[in-house]
Symmetry: D2
Subunit: 352 residues, 4 copies
């Protein structure tokens, strides 16, 4: 039996942080040392999650801020902070820590400071650390993650997109004209008190947002290049679904070289090969995955169709934005970094 | 004051037929002579719609079948039937009628019998009548509708797509690579008793369907050619939203000729010009329309964005699939054919 | 043809105010002189309601505040303000106005200042005016409303409850032990930016709130006494439904005198008699009304069941909280006060 | 380490059966020997649940019917069948089996055949076995369940009601005039293909059903008598919520003896005492539990308020109808019968 590790969570008020607290509080090999949250300070997890009922053990209490003493004891730190705040936090404590770090925010995903400035509109304040962070998509970078102390957890949209495209990217198929239409549940927007996120605003509603230049494009193009060796300029348009959780991504693209007669079989084979041994990606063939299949689980489901009339390849992927798209993937990365079984603590039943 | 006309409705059990009964029962210049429905036969509208409360007048009762005597008295017939049934119905009574016809089904939208066979998989049984029916999109064909006795009401998806593309089609802008991602409320699937349409199946769900070769593609490509004089092969993918009503369409395309620096302004101008005098299409500029803005109204709202980085033009349109996408548009067509004010009976408040 | 009247609306930012603007802007006999709103100041109705498309007429613009000159021209004022603000507003302008007033808020519903203080926790600042305001439930007080210049529009819960109980209150049936369980859509909570009203908080959720001492109890007990001449102490518990609009009220009570064998028929007869000529209340007998039947309409639907085993009478009523429960009822009151047809401008189709 | 037991599931097509398959397929001490289902026959769990991804182990395949050989090997049988079918099934195989039985249906909950006939309208066909079945509410009958081979799993409504009332039933408080208003998600109605369960029928809807004489009343009154020694006639009214999962129950009652000044504290104390050591019931005091707190978990949350003005005690309880209200409770019962830890396999995170 393995020893338990100690984990610290910075930023436990948001949806991602809360989901992480939930998962880790029931992870066989993890003790949560602390979770910071202004909103929930001095409350225990049993008060924050009404259905938590542990009377004796796991009396995890949220604290307002992590002191130096808190940091000293931990083996791994999870950062669940808004853009710009992870780098500020790490800068503030830099030099002093010996723990591993998984950043669930967006500060360390882009490797090139110029790209960072282009997509985030400001200079990165810890450029030297950018290359330390491995882009934490285990289905692509598992070996690097295993030996790394710093992981940048991918964005929710990029995870759904990269897992849909990666199987075709390392191969002789030439994918061009990538046009992506993603739809996300509202928890993806975070927990902001805005008129537009009220129930009365979103119930039975649907719309596109950030239609030009969404920040996630940067990491998608970076990773597509890393996988394929080719440069891409993708069109990406996110939409908001009137549901709490889940992302459904529709990827439209073309096959650049002359379309072969057996294109569908070829694509089928490549997906099947890619997904064969992956615990958290399942290929559904030409059966379309549904949002509800993935919600409440750490799975990404991928299906496809090939429209021979127009030469359009259509790939559809679904995942839970708070699990495989955020906290679940972070724990998957932790499992890999800590040499636990990759699925440990992530075997959820789903809700449907 | 105009005289009232008499309308007959064939197929009053489905969502479209019921919506039509509702609208016409409160239309100033219309008396419903009859509405057929196996499901509701012998019930009055006040029994079918619990909130209808007319005690004295408008005692409209659903009948199982329209007899010859019923047909003789009417000025206009609305057909609200599934694919293949409109032509069968008209064939059964052909030769005998003097009323105008608006077909809300799909049998008379395609003008070329070869196209019909390609998209519907069977021979048309009234080929000779195909050219009699005007494609009833008033924003394009108003003059033809005015002088016509037969109108084929457009499909819900095609309405949302054509109103998004038409403004750019008659002009010197060369639109290419059209890739359409539509999302529809579940009433668009009709009132079928299938496991997949249960509340438990669709609540908080979302997925793509008919991903290859949806039948509406035929009428979209036909009308794009009619408007522009050019042939198109479009990629179209419909999805199901967990809402009752409404269609949100995202159209992605490119501008074929060298992209000009003022492309956005140019596109803006064309949309504004097209929508200026239309009662039921509103251009929202680069503000994104939302599904809830259109639901419960006969409006189609259209917005756009131009992504200069990738050269992608993104057009977004929304409408209520049962109103502007079906029964509302049928009444709009009737108003035009009967020389009523185009908005008569269609000035709904919406629900939000 | 009647002359148009001029209406002023104070408080056009909330759900009720907006709904009122919508209805009045399409009312045949009303011109909106102004609507105040800090949120929407300087915007036209066509900007606030994206589906409004009036190009020429009805260019209603929201203003921040109504000046003396604005007030002078109007025939009727609608107050759509939070608790305490209607009396403050009227006090501020008191003495100077000649227009009629309909208060959609809660300040003038209770007639006894002691009751007001009990339920609202503070002294009323215009006690002298309390008796000027008629409790605007037209199904009970139509004659008084006709001849009144001041109407206090009932609360949404009280409307659903009083219309369910009134038919039995004027009669020889002795109703006792009234226990009411109401369920309201979230728009009933107003448009507050609170964590608990976010989509992510309310989607697929349901709960009870204000379980002890909800303020609406005061006006319910007052009106029950007015109708029946008897005093009541009712138990009332409101709940929040994960829907935008609509109230469903379940009323449980007992019949005090010895239960007769034909109790069900007797109750049926009383309901039918009460509802017979009412344009906006429909009795559905022992068929249960559904929330969706009423949403989007100005109707209140009432059904009932009598449980002989336990002697429990169960009455169920539904309405749209923003229409018959607020803005629709206010316009109904206006129609009565102004001698328009009671249904004018209120003949909505509903959304289902 | 305990040995694994073998479980057989009869009726794996419905929501309850599927949920049970999910839970047991991940239970540390259980192997599913078979699950019968006409709908899913010959499919594996990984095909039925798209997010299941076990490649090597747990290759559970649904079979059409359990043969004698299938039954011989099992330690426990779960019956997930509609009313009347459990007793028919057991009668068909009676005499031959040595396994324990948990019936998730309603056939063996009532102990008195006269009650059974009253509530179910037909004679019980295995009267002799009624007393063999323990009413499987572990919070009341844990000791009997431990030593029993036959458990009748309670209904979903009765579980929510009994856990709300039981704490006050064994005591000197005299609870009278019990009036219960329950609201259930649609999965509670089972998986029937009916017009009324379509998404288009239930979205944004709400209504009461089976308002007189719902069958669950029988088992509620039976168990209240078992706990308290007193007879009750309760008023019970179920409603349908537009959500997939979850029951919210509002219990209204009075305290019969003279209301004491410290009634609220007394009730608080009794609830706290009752819930103290229960793994799956949590008392939330005067904080109201919310539906979303319980959905996706095996918890029942109970809160209360005491309205001194009217003498009404209001108790609110929530649970997930498919977990604590059905399959979760069945596994809890199995854990107790098999001497596993009561929480084994039931420690779900919930979805919110």
């Amino acid at each position: 039996m393995k020893n338990k590790i100690k984990a610290g969570i910075i930023g436990g008020s948001g949806f991602t942080g809360l989901e992480l607290v939930k998962i880790l509080s029931r992870h066989k090999y993890v003790d949560i040392s602390f979770a910071t949250s202004r909103k929930y300070k001095n409350l225990s997890v049993c008060e924050v999650f009404p259905a938590f009922n542990d009377k004796k053990d796991k009396k995890i209490t949220f604290i307002e801020e992590a002191k130096e003493g808190d940091l000293e004891g931990i083996d791994i730190m999870f950062l669940c902070l808004p853009p710009f705040e992870s780098m500020e936090y790490l800068k503030g404590i830099s030099g002093d820590f010996s723990f591993k770090v998984i950043d669930l925010g967006s500060d360390f995903r882009l490797k090139n400071p110029i790209d960072y400035k282009y997509w985030y509109g400001t200079e990165h304040i810890m450029k030297g650390m950018l290359s330390d962070f491995i882009y934490g998509l285990p289905e692509i970078n598992k070996e690097k993650i295993e030996s790394s102390d710093h992981v940048a957890n991918p964005g929710c949209y990029p995870t759904s997109i990269l897992l849909g495209l990666a199987p075709l990217m390392k191969n002789d198929i030439d994918i061009i004209d990538i046009c992506i239409d993603s739809k996300s549940g509202i928890s993806g927007a975070g927990r902001k008190l805005k008129d537009e996120y009220l129930f009365t605003s979103m119930d039975s509603n649907f719309y596109a947002y950030s239609t030009i230049g969404h920040r996630h494009i940067g990491e998608i193009e970076q990773e597509l290049e890393n996988i394929s060796g080719k440069k891409f300029k993708i069109s990406f348009t996110p939409h908001l679904l009137p549901v709490n959780r889940g992302i459904f991504t529709s990827i439209y693209c073309r096959v650049g070289d002359s379309v072969e007669s057996n294109m569908e079989e070829k694509i089928y084979y490549l997906f099947e090969k890619f997904c064969k041994d992956l615990p958290f990606v399942k290929f559904t063939g030409t059966e379309m995955p549904q949002l509800k299949d993935a919600v409440g689980t750490n799975m990404c489901l991928v299906g496809f169709g090939f429209d021979a009339r127009t030469g359009t390849l259509k790939i559809f992927s679904v995942l839970d934005n708070l699990l495989k798209g955020a906290a679940g993937q972070a724990v998957q990365n932790m499992n890999i970094m800590m040499d636990f079984e990759e699925k440990e603590g992530l075997d959820f039943n789903g809700i449907f």
